[in-house]
Symmetry: C2
Subunit: 334 residues, 2 copies
DNA sequence: TTGAAAGCGCTAACAT
DNA sequence: ATGTTAGCGCTTTCAA
């Protein structure tokens, strides 16, 4: 099919070594030789095989991207970010969409390893110690995004969930809200504890006591349910676990005839694409997706380059920022 | 680092050929040999290098997935579907996110080819004849999803956009609507013409004349704008180019105090995840994402297997289905 | 500046 | 049933 380096060498009357050198530009060559090689390559439409190169060089310039929690609305954003950062550094991305169960996920991990990816980025999965072990054994650089495995020593970069949730609650407090509820997510969601804590931090600092806590399911339905349960309380502000939850709350409140933001203010988390288009547009905490992806890729690259910076002892926290839209408004003390 | 086939061979006291055979299971081996090989492989945590295998076999069991139109809300769904279908058939996915300009996209294509992907699935990109040429020259099987390049002869699978839009309009007509508007997308969107035609088909069949046409931008903002312009007309139903456009329309109508679906019914297209959660939940045309992805992968596989079924002359159309929610309702003749 | 040759890890004839 | 060996397409010493 495609032309090989031998074809190019033959056509230009030099050795394959010379072709390789000219094409890589690593070693100077006589101008005349250069020209001939380049011409031959062009004429034959030669594309070096990265497979052969990988075998020789023992690196594929490829990163595995394992995304398990596909229900995560924030998934497309992070895939985008990682792909872009990788491409910039000359890495390709092999995508692995985690399945439903942990077993299938381990299988994916194996596949990535067999494909000899140079490193692996794992996003918000249900990583277990077993995964970590497997990873450790094969010595493939790995970085976790938005999740940690306790005691695995795996390097991690995550959004500062706690700080983000605090930001959300503080925004409400600054607007004069005093009775604030938090609609959380089940405990198995990596960030649920931290976000709840963030809301408490803000309340406590302001001397407002404890937030009212309701639990959703991380999705719209759960958010709506939880908000309904909150309707008879006298809260004026809600910090939702994420945007999906917030959208559910918006819906439930509308159904109940409670105006947002006049009667109750709502803050989300993530800033998914559609957050700008809810009704009213959602005030939310934007995760630093770009930075998360970039950091993950750069750190894998560093690890590959042998810069073992002793990281992984504690996760790197990246700051989110608040995006104020129309689902929150000032509220004097009642 | 990792153990090689030589290590396993040495440890189990057989030749590498035997190891290869035992592991692949292609040829029967004596039970005792089998055991020893398997044991050695396990002990060494041996993972065959798919790189070396690819070089030998001249196939990587890898498909390239080029997604350019990243603004397409339908993007995550199709990535999911393609990945799943590929995985099922033992293919991995190399992801390439198209850039802004056509040049960057060509670069991506080259990269995929250098990576020696066995086939390429291209989703809804701004494919040009130049791309098609490049593809043709390298003889890599390609299938296009939801887009065609006129005269390129590239096999294509797409949603039956025209039929889908007709379904949408017919739904409205059955509900008693007579004055229907279509909010379309700019002409450069692959499906815009077909969807507009679909609406006209339905109107004409029902003897209702031409639909009122407004043009959005394929996004929420454009949908809102276009809907505003429609407010003073006397239409009672809107078929939007896609869900984003429909969401924009929903918003504009609410702002204007026009009830959906009491005063005006709205139908979207795509059935993105959030369509079920708009207010009111959106009646829409669901693209057969699963089938699209599966078909694309299977067709590439067929091509790879040498089944040149003379396809590609005309695109394969997959039927969408209507999902009726609450943004549409019956309406007697006024 | 260029060439010859070894070798990356595997598979598949071809032998035995 | 198993071993020997060539070779996939490249890069990289080592020589010249």
């Amino acid at each position: 099919m495609g032309a090989t380096i031998d074809d190019v060498a033959a056509r230009s009357g030099v050795s394959t070594a010379t072709v390789s050198r000219v094409l890589s530009g690593s070693v100077p060559a006589r101008a005349a030789t250069r020209e001939r090689v380049l011409a031959a390559a062009r004429e034959l439409d030669y594309r070096p095989s990265s497979i052969a190169r990988a075998l020789k060089r023992q690196e594929t310039r490829t990163l595995g991207l394992l995304v398990t929690d596909i229900t995560n609305p924030f998934y497309p954003q992070i895939v985008r970010a990682v792909e872009a950062a990788a491409h910039e550094r000359g890495y390709g991305i092999v995508l692995a969409n985690g399945g439903d169960d942990a077993a299938r996920e381990l299988e994916h991990l194996d596949l990535l390893i067999e494909r000899r990816v140079d490193g692996i980025v794992i996003v918000s999965s249900r990583m277990t110690r077993r995964h970590a072990e497997r990873l450790h054994r094969t010595a493939v650089p790995v970085v976790l995004v938005n999740d940690t495995v306790a005691g695995s020593g795996l390097p991690t970069v995550t959004t500062a969930h706690r700080r983000g949730a605090r930001l959300a609650a503080e925004h409400l407090i600054q607007l004069g809200h005093q009775r604030i509820a938090h609609i959380g997510a089940p405990a198995d969601q990596a960030a649920s504890g931290q976000r709840r804590q963030g809301v408490r931090d803000a309340m406590r600092r302001a001397g407002l006591g404890e937030p009212l806590i309701a639990i959703g399911d991380g999705g719209v339905a759960g958010g709506a349910h939880a908000a309904e349960a909150l309707i008879d309380s006298d809260i004026t502000g809600i910090v939702a676990y994420n945007d999906l939850t917030a959208i559910g709350a918006l819906r439930a409140l509308r159904r109940a005839g409670i105006g947002v933001p006049e009667a109750v203010s709502v803050v989300g988390f993530d800033d998914i694409d559609l957050a700008a288009w809810t009704d009213p547009p959602l005030t939310t905490i934007r995760q630093p997706t770009e930075a998360l992806g970039r950091w993950a890729v750069e750190h894998v690259a560093d690890l590959l380059a042998g810069h073992d910076d002793g990281l992984g002892i504690s996760p790197v926290l990246l700051d989110p920022e608040i995006v104020v839209r129309d689902s929150t408004s000032a509220r004097g003390t009642v």
